[in-house]
């Protein structure tokens, strides 16, 4: 197994675990809990490895200077990195403390037993505890990445369905979110955003500014960045409306609002072949004619529009600027990177900035969190001494977050006379997914913060080069897991696309897997085969086969038990070809007006060793629901004058009226590396829906979203 970067970068045991005088254990990790329940899972792992009650395990909040720097909480890596690091830290601590206990008690270490932190030996009636021993001072040793773990049979908590940490506060309505923070002397801030990305502030009615000032409302202006701050939140809300009406904007050419799919084809682009999941800096081989043994050749184009994170709570941040030091509280998924980006953007030393995490509304991606942190910092710097809680409005959240990029996929494959795939080509055209404020060598972190472009001294928005890692960005899951004799895979990073984009849950995998798995069904039909056997014929990976078989056992896509008028469809992938294996089978019905109803859904997944059953199932099912929402409903709309998806009416999402009945099977392989699960079902879900609609109606939908209008249009064309 590859070494765990979290431990390589933060080897010291004391960084991960401390034993408190109040007989608690504090776990520190650098990954933030964004609803994926990483804190629940790490507490279970530490409790079991140490033999203490999970109630004694505290999971510290994540903050710069104190928490290990684990980079970003992204890519479904929380368990593989933090989970593994905390477990090894606990195993190291246990071994170390037991050796000390053996010395103190004068017994052989093999005779020691631990129960809820108390250490006893049958060789003596004396006893000690972790806390007594740890009171001697810090460990001063490194985490041993190979420290032996307790056997799985000795685990009491890992593998169970634990209560989610923090949930009791939430159901009681106790303050839990960053949005709920309240500090003495705090100011509430709201923004006045321009009409669109390219608009500039050219006039502001000073009389209005004066009137606001007379009412005790602060106006902060820096170039085209405009904000208000007031002691009362509602006063700030109203003032932002008044200030907005007092502003005049130079609109320029507006947003390019031609067809985005034409843009993906026609614009300038960087094109790279992808080999074994990794782009090669080499010319792209031309698409040759079908191989000599091709019996059938099939081509299809699949498309996915811009889609948004659309968190339920608008992005927010708290910032205080005091004595040259900046404190920021944020729901960013990367506090250390954010600190560097803020330092660059504000011309400060990063040591003068403290960033800590507090929960925001879920989004599983890069929404406005980092941008709001910068906004709050700009306001706080203008109003030193006062804590500033800045919140975006719903409109701003919808209109200004970085979206998931649109994408277009061209697939072509040939079948030989035995119904086997003889050749495969897949090209994906899309924009970047990596606009989180990574610092980068040239200070590009700052240029990725939204408001940087609007300041009096603006930074041009950063234009990233192609991501070249394995299974990242546009080419995530571009390489299918199937055994294919010949693959031609190409990524096209398209320039000059109209909307601001970044990482949306699963990045390119959603679109690529949607295309691959839809195409597999199209090929299976041509081969006269059923979806399950056709896939199994091309799949030797035993864990992949097992999830497909397990899902099909629950809800057979070819089953004769499928009610009349309904259809079932399968989608499968191993996330990044190295993380969780997931098969999703959806059963749908299609109404007379073209509305797709999700009736039942079977998920089978192998995510490695299961730690928190409930949390894992929630990630898999939640991934299906979110992807079903994207697939059935979502496309960001815009015109020259700006984004027109500005609220939940103009950007509807899936509701409780269309949630399938889930049956979720977790295949637990026993002691095996944790595999990232949070993004594993998104792509399979999209394809499962498309394939199910085809099974129910014969209509092949290739452009997301599958709205009733698009179903009716497809029916008219068929």
């Amino acid at each position: 197994m590859a070494p765990n970067p979290s431990l390589l970068n933060n080897p010291a045991l004391d960084d991960w675990l401390t034993f408190g005088a109040d007989e608690t254990v504090t776990v520190r990790s650098g990954k933030v809990d964004i609803g994926q329940r990483i804190s629940t899972a790490t507490a279970l792992l530490a409790a079991d490895e140490l033999d203490v009650d999970p109630g004694r395990v505290r999971v510290a909040r994540v903050e710069t200077g104190l928490s290990p720097d684990e980079g970003l909480t992204v890519g479904s890596q929380s368990m593989a990195q933090t989970g593994n690091a905390v477990r090894q830290a606990a195993a190291t601590a246990r071994r170390h403390l037991l050796a000390r206990a053996a010395c103190v008690l004068g017994v052989d270490v093999a005779t020691l037993e631990v129960e809820d932190g108390e250490i006893r030996s049958h060789a003596t009636n004396r006893r000690t505890s972790y806390w007594e021993l740890a009171a001697d001072g810090p460990f001063g040793i490194d985490v041993d990445p190979d420290a032996p773990l307790k056997p799985r049979t000795a685990l009491r908590h890992v593998g169970t369905a634990a209560l989610a940490r923090g949930l009791e506060d939430i159901v009681r309505g106790r303050p839990h979110f960053l949005h709920d923070m309240s500090l003495p002397g705090m100011l509430h801030a709201r923004l006045v955003r321009p009409p669109h990305y390219h608009a500039l502030l050219v006039g502001l009615n000073e009389a209005v500014v004066d009137r606001l000032g007379a009412e005790g409302i602060e106006v902060v202006r820096d170039g085209s960045f405009l904000a208000v701050a007031a002691a009362d939140e509602y006063a700030a809300v109203r003032a932002s409306g008044r200030l907005g009406a007092a502003a005049s904007w130079e609109l320029g050419d507006g947003i390019f609002s031609g067809d985005v799919y034409e843009g993906l084809r026609g614009n300038e682009k960087v094109s790279l072949p992808v080999i074994d999941g990794t782009p090669a800096e080499a010319p792209v081989a031309p698409l040759e004619g079908p191989p000599a043994d091709a019996a059938v050749t099939l081509e299809a184009r699949y498309e996915r529009p811009y889609q948004m994170h659309a968190s339920m709570g608008p992005s927010t941040a708290m910032a205080t600027f005091d004595d040259g030091r900046l404190t920021v509280v944020t729901h960013s998924q990367g506090i250390y990177f954010l600190r560097l980006a803020l330092a660059d953007a504000l011309g400060m030393e990063s040591e003068a900035i403290h960033v800590r995490h507090a929960p925001g509304a879920g989004c599983y991606g890069h929404n406005g969190a980092d941008d709001a942190a910068f906004d709050a910092a700009i306001v706080a710097r203008a109003l030193p001494g006062a804590p500033v809680l800045l919140k975006w409005s719903r409109e701003e959240e919808h209109a200004w977050e970085p979206y998931g990029s649109c994408a277009s996929m061209d697939l072509r494959a040939s079948l030989d006379g035995h119904g086997r795939i003889a050749a495969w080509s897949h090209e994906t055209y899309s924009d970047t997914y990596s606009m989180r404020p990574h610092p980068g060598p040239d200070g590009t972190g700052a240029a990725r913060l939204l408001s940087a472009r609007f300041l009096a001294e603006p930074l041009e928005p950063h234009v990233p080069g192609p991501a070249l890692g394995r299974h990242v960005g546009i080419h995530r899951n571009l390489d299918p897991l199937y055994d294919l004799p010949e693959k031609r895979l190409v990524k096209h990073l398209v320039r000059d696309m109209p909307l601001r984009v970044s990482a949306l849950r699963s990045l390119g995998a959603y679109a690529n897997v949607f295309a691959i798995e839809s195409f597999m069904d199209e090929l299976a039909a041509k081969a006269g085969s059923d979806p399950v056997s056709f896939r199994l014929r091309h799949l030797s990976d035993p864990r992949g086969r097992a999830v497909i078989e397990a899902a099909a056992e629950r809800l057979d896509p070819a089953g004769t038990d499928c009610p009349q008028g309904r259809g079932r469809g399968l989608g499968f992938a191993q996330y990044k070809n190295s993380e969780t294996y997931a098969a999703v089978i959806m059963e749908v019905s299609v109404g007379d007006r073209g509305e797709i109803r999700l009736e039942r859904c079977a998920i089978a997944a192998d995510a490695g060793e299961v730690v928190d059953r409930a949390g894992l199932a929630a990630q898999l099912e939640g991934g299906v629901v979110q992807a079903a929402s994207w697939t059935l409903h979502e496309a960001v709309t815009f015109d020259r004058d700006g984004i027109t998806s500005r609220d939940w009416d103009s950007y509807p999402i899936l509701g409780f009226d269309n949630v399938p009945v889930f049956e979720t099977v977790l295949i637990d392989p026993g002691r095996a590396p944790f595999l990232g699960a949070g993004e594993a079902t998104a792509g399979p879900a999209a394809a499962a829906i498309a394939n199910a609609v085809c099974a129910a109606t014969g209509l092949r939908l290739r452009q997301i979203p599958f709205t009733p209008e698009s179903v009716r249009a497809a029916a008219l064309q068929s």
Binding site: L167, G173, R174, S311, A361, A618, F656
Partner: protein, 154 residues
């Protein structure tokens, strides 16, 4: 600024507020009741729901003046002597939240439904959840909480 007498969670509270102020700002900023969430401010998402005279009401647009004389219950007022109410209990046991931003509104909506309905059923519960959006996709676990509640005859 006007003075208002509000009956909240069984106690009468006096607040000073702009009469045009939506109730949620009074709850959160005047009374420190942070349970109701501001999600949209447009009556579109359900995050800000409270119970007024037994009915689920959104608090992000309707003004404080409209609530005078009504019995308001927020999520903070659901537990009795610290005991979670059945809906809260079911949400906790079923793990019916991921980030939890939407949770308060849903707990309120289901509580109002179960208290008003003598013979609650799944369909009615689903209707009660209409207009309650969740982005994390916690729906399946929320519906498991609903099924538990109905099975327990809540």
């Amino acid at each position: 600024m006007n003075a208002f007498l509000l009956n909240i969670n069984g106690a009468v509270r006096k607040v000073e507020a702009d009469p045009a102020m939506p109730l949620i700002y009074v709850l959160r900023n005047r009374l420190g009741l942070m349970g109701a969430k501001l999600g949209c401010g447009l009556e579109q998402c359900g995050a800000c729901a409270v119970i007024a005279d037994g009915e689920r009401v959104l608090s992000c647009v309707r003004t404080v003046s409209e609530f005078e004389g009504r019995a308001i219950t927020t999520i903070e007022g659901l537990a009795e002597e610290g005991e979670l109410n059945p809906v809260q209990r079911a949400f906790l046991d079923a793990g019916a939240a991921q980030c939890g931003y939407c949770t308060s509104g849903m707990v309120i909506a289901l509580t109002a439904y179960l208290e008003a309905e003598e013979h609650p059923d799944r369909r009615g519960a689903l209707e009660a959840l209409e207009g309650h959006l969740c982005r994390c996709g916690a729906h399946a676990d929320v519906l498991r909480a609903v099924d538990r509640l109905l099975a327990d005859g809540a």
